[in-house]
Symmetry: C2
Subunit: 433 residues, 2 copies
C-alpha cells in the first residue's frame, strides 16, 4: 500500500479526495497496489462529509510529516508560506511531494528542486500549470527527445476570459473584468491575474524545465492587460489579428527571451479559438515541431485530475522502489542560461498614433521610425472610429524591430506637437518568430 497525506482541503483538495475514492479500482490497477489517502490536514475545516470525513482532520501539518507510514505528501494550500516550509520539511522528512502551487515553485524552484535532489525525493507539480492539461509531462517526457526552441502559452484563464468577452461582446476592459468577477473567474483584487504575474509564474516553471536551469521571475519581462482599449482589439481584428495575453519563452541563438505581454496573433492561429477560461500551451521542439496542449485552465476537478495523475505516477515509483532515484526533471542550476535583455528582443509591432489632421503627419512618423531602424510593413486606416475621437488614428505595423529602438522612436513621436496622445503599441507574434 502507498499512503498519501493531504494538506489543504479547499476545492482542489476535496476534488482529489473525491477522485481517489471514486476511481480507486482503476488507480490501484495502474499503481499495482492500493493507494490510500490516510491523513488529512486543514487549518479551517473540521469536517468534510462530502468526502466521508466527519472528524480526524489534523490542524498541524507536522503530524503528517512525522507519520513514517506516509509516502507522499500533497500540498494544496497555495501561496508562498507556509507552503514552502511544508514542502521542504516534507522532503527532508523523506516524503515525496505533489503540489499544485505555482507561486511557491516560481519563487523557490531552485531551493525546492535542489533539496529534493539531495534527499533523493521526487516532486511533481502537473497542476501548477494549465489546470487540467498534462503539459508538464508533455514537455518533460513526451517531448524529451527535443531541444526546446519556443514555448508560447495562454496560461491564465481570468485574463483570457476578459479578452474573449471584450472582443465577442464589444465591451471595455472594465466591463469585462466585472463580468469575470461575476462569473467567478476573477478575484475581487484581480491584479495578480490582470497584471500578468500569474502567467509569469507559470512561464518560469515551463521555461526552467524547457531550458534545464532556473529562469527566475525577475528574468521575465511582464506587462498585463489592464491598459488595453477595446478599440485596438477591434482595429486589430480588421487587420486580421486577435489578441491574447501570452507567456513567451524562446531560444534566440543561445540567449533566452522570457516575457509576458498582450500579443496579436493571426486570426488563423490555433490560439484564437482558445476562448474564455481555457488555456493552451504551444511548445516547439527541434524534432516534433510545434505541439499544442489545450484544456480548462481552471476548475476544481480539472486541477484535481492533474494532482491525482501525479499521485499515480509517484505511487507507482514508490511501489516499485524507484521513486527519487532519478530526478523527475533534468535541472542543473550550474547550467547557466543567458537571458536576452528585453531591449534587444525583436518583434513585429502594431502601432497606433493619434495625430492632428495635418498634411505631412505620416511622413513625420515614418521618418522618426526610419531613423530608429524600424521598418514599416503596412499603413492602415481603420474602419472603426475611436470613441473619444482623439485626433486622426494612424495604424502601422512594422517588420521585425528591436524593442529598445521602437520605444525610443515612440518617445520621440509622443513628444511631437502634432501628437494628440501617446502611441499605443502591441507586439505581434507570427509564424517563425
Amino acid at each position: 500500500m502507498v499512503q498519501v497525506g493531504l494538506i489543504g482541503l479547499g476545492t482542489v483538495g476535496t476534488g482529489v479526495a473525491k477522485i481517489i475514492k471514486s476511481q480507486n479500482l482503476r488507480i490501484n490497477k495502474l499503481v499495482g497496489t492500493e493507494v490510500a489517502l490516510t491523513k488529512f490536514c486543514d487549518t479551517i475545516a473540521t469536517s468534510k462529509p462530502e468526502i466521508g470525513l466527519n472528524d480526524g482532520i489534523l490542524k498541524d501539518y507536522k503530524e503528517i510529516l512525522a507519520d513514517k507510514s506516509i509516502d507522499i505528501v500533497v500540498e494544496l494550500i497555495g501561496g508562498y508560506e507556509p507552503a514552502r516550509t511544508i514542502i521542504l520539511e516534507a522532503i527532508r522528512a523523506g516524503k515525496h511531494v505533489v503540489t499544485a502551487n505555482k507561486a511557491v515553485l516560481a519563487k523557490y524552484l531552485d531551493e525546492i528542486l535542489m533539496v529534493a535532489q539531495k534527499h533523493e525525493r521526487q516532486i511533481y507539480f502537473e497542476a501548477a500549470v494549465g489546470g487540467g492539461i498534462p503539459v508538464i509531462q508533455g514537455l518533460n517526457e513526451g517531448l524529451a527527445a527535443n531541444q526546446i526552441k519556443k514555448i508560447i502559452g495562454i496560461l491564465n484563464g481570468t485574463t483570457n476570459f476578459i479578452l474573449t468577452q471584450m472582443v465577442e461582446k464589444n465591451i471595455s476592459f472594465e466591463q469585462a473584468l466585472k463580468a469575470a468577477q461575476k462569473a467567478g473567474f476573477a478575484e475581487s483584487d484581480p491584479s495578480f491575474d490582470i497584471e500578468g504575474t500569474d502567467t509569469a509564474h507559470k512561464l518560469v516553471i515551463l521555461s526552467s524545465i524547457a531550458f534545464g536551469s532556473w529562469i527566475k521571475i525577475s528574468d521575465v519581462y511582464c506587462e498585463g492587460i489592464s491598459k488595453l482599449e477595446l478599440y485596438d482589439l477591434q482595429v486589430a481584428q480588421e487587420l486580421g489579428y486577435g489578441l491574447k495575453l501570452l507567456g513567451i519563452a524562446k531560444d534566440s541563438a543561445g540567449e533566452i527571451e522570457v516575457k509576458v505581454h498582450p500579443t496579436l496573433l493571426p486570426l488563423k492561429h490555433p490560439f484564437i479559438s482558445v476562448r474564455n477560461e481555457y488555456n493552451a500551451i504551444s511548445i516547439t521542439g527541434d524534432a516534433a515541431d510545434d505541439v499544442m496542449f489545450y484544456g480548462k485552465g481552471a476548475g476544481m476537478m480539472a486541477a484535481a485530475s492533474n494532482v491525482v495523475a501525479d499521485i499515480i505516477y509517484l505511487a507507482r515509483q514508490v511501489a516499485q522502489g524507484t521513486a527519487g532515484k532519478l530526478p523527475y526533471i533534468i535541472y542543473d542550476p550550474k547550467d547557466k542560461v543567458s537571458i536576452l535583455n528585453h531591449e534587444k528582443i525583436s518583434s513585429k509591432y502594431y502601432l497606433r498614433f493619434a495625430m492632428e489632421d495635418k498634411p505631412g503627419v505620416l511622413a513625420k512618423i515614418a521618418g522618426i521610425l526610419g531613423d530608429s531602424n524600424v521598418s514599416i510593413a503596412s499603413v492602415y486606416q481603420p474602419k472603426t472610429i475611436h470613441p473619444e475621437k482623439k485626433g486622426v488614428p494612424i495604424i502601422l505595423t512594422t517588420h521585425l524591430a528591436e524593442e529598445g529602438k521602437v520605444q525610443k522612436a515612440l518617445q520621440q513621436i509622443n513628444q511631437l506637437p502634432i501628437t494628440k496622445s501617446n502611441a499605443i503599441f502591441i507586439r505581434i507574434e507570427e509564424d517563425g518568430r
Copy 2:
C-alpha cells in the same frame, strides 16, 4: 548501458538514429545511464552514411532478437507482416518493444498486449497515433485520474490537407487530392487514407486504451471523404460549420460508439484552425473535462521524436529494473465493452436535397422526416448556387436523431418523383454530444 536494436531504416528510423546521436547527453541524463543504438536491420539499405552507418546493417532481424545484450527492439518497418511476427518474437525473446506501427497494433492489439503481459515485457507505441504529438501518454498517464467519456480526433494528415485545400482554395476533392499527392502528403493509391482506414486504425488504438479493452476495427463504422462535394463545404460554411474527417469514440451510457466519418463542427471549434497535415485529438474526461493535443501528424522527425521519447521511458525502466513489471496500459480483454449499433447512434445532421421547383416540396420532405421521428432544427436557402444546378437545393439541419431513422427517411425521399438526385447527409458534432 541500455542497448537498443533498430529494425527498419526508412525515414523515421533514420530520424530516430539522428536524434539519439545528437541528443545523447540529454538522453543519458534522463535515463541515468547510456542509451546506445547497437544493432541495425534493414532489408534494403546496405549503408546509411547520414547516421554514420557504412556497413554492418543486418539483413535478418533474428540476429537482433538473438543478441542477449539488446534490451529494446524498435520496429519501424510498418505494415502487418512481418511486423507482427517481429514484435511477437521480440517479446518472446525477452525484449521490450517500441513501434510506430498503427496498422499492426489496430489489427493485432489483443494478441500483442496479451503476449507482452504474459512475458512481462513492455510495448510502447506513441508514434502510432498523431505523428509528433504525445497523445498516448497524455491519455494513458496524464488523464489517468479520469474516466474517459469521449475522444474526437483529426487523426489523418492526408485527408485534413485535402479538406483544408478544398475550403481555402475553392477546389474539388479531385483537385485537392492531386495537390496533396504533389506536396507528398498522399500516396499514389490514396484509398487507405481517404476512405478513413488509417483514421480507424488510430481510433482503435486510442479507444482501446480509453475504455480498457479491445475495440476492433470491425467495431468501427467507417466512411471516408472521397464523395464529398465542395458545394456542401461552402454551404456548411455559410451555416457556420467547417468540415473535418473525425475519428469519434464516445461512452453513451455504458455503450461505446466508435466511428469515422466526415463531420461538421461549429466554426468556433478549436479543430477548425487545425489545418493541412496537422492532427488534433480532443479527449473528454470526467474530471479534466476536454483536453486537446495538437501537432504535426506527419513527417520524419515528428514521428522520430515520439519513438525516441518511448525509448527514453523504456530505457529508464530497464535501467531501474522495473520494465515490464507493470503493464504500460490497463488492458483486460475480459472487460468486455458493448459497442453501440451504428443505426442507434444519435447525431445532428446537415441534409441537402435537390428537388423539382414545385410548391409543397418542403412540406413533403418535412412530412417524411417527421413520420420517421427526425425533427428539423433549421431550413436554409444557400447563397451559393450548385454548379450543376440539379434541381432546387433545400438544406435542412436536424436536432439529434437516430442514424437508422434518418437513413430510412432519406431512402423514402430519394424515391419521390420530385427528387432530382439522392440526398446528401453529413453528421454534425456539437458541444454536449
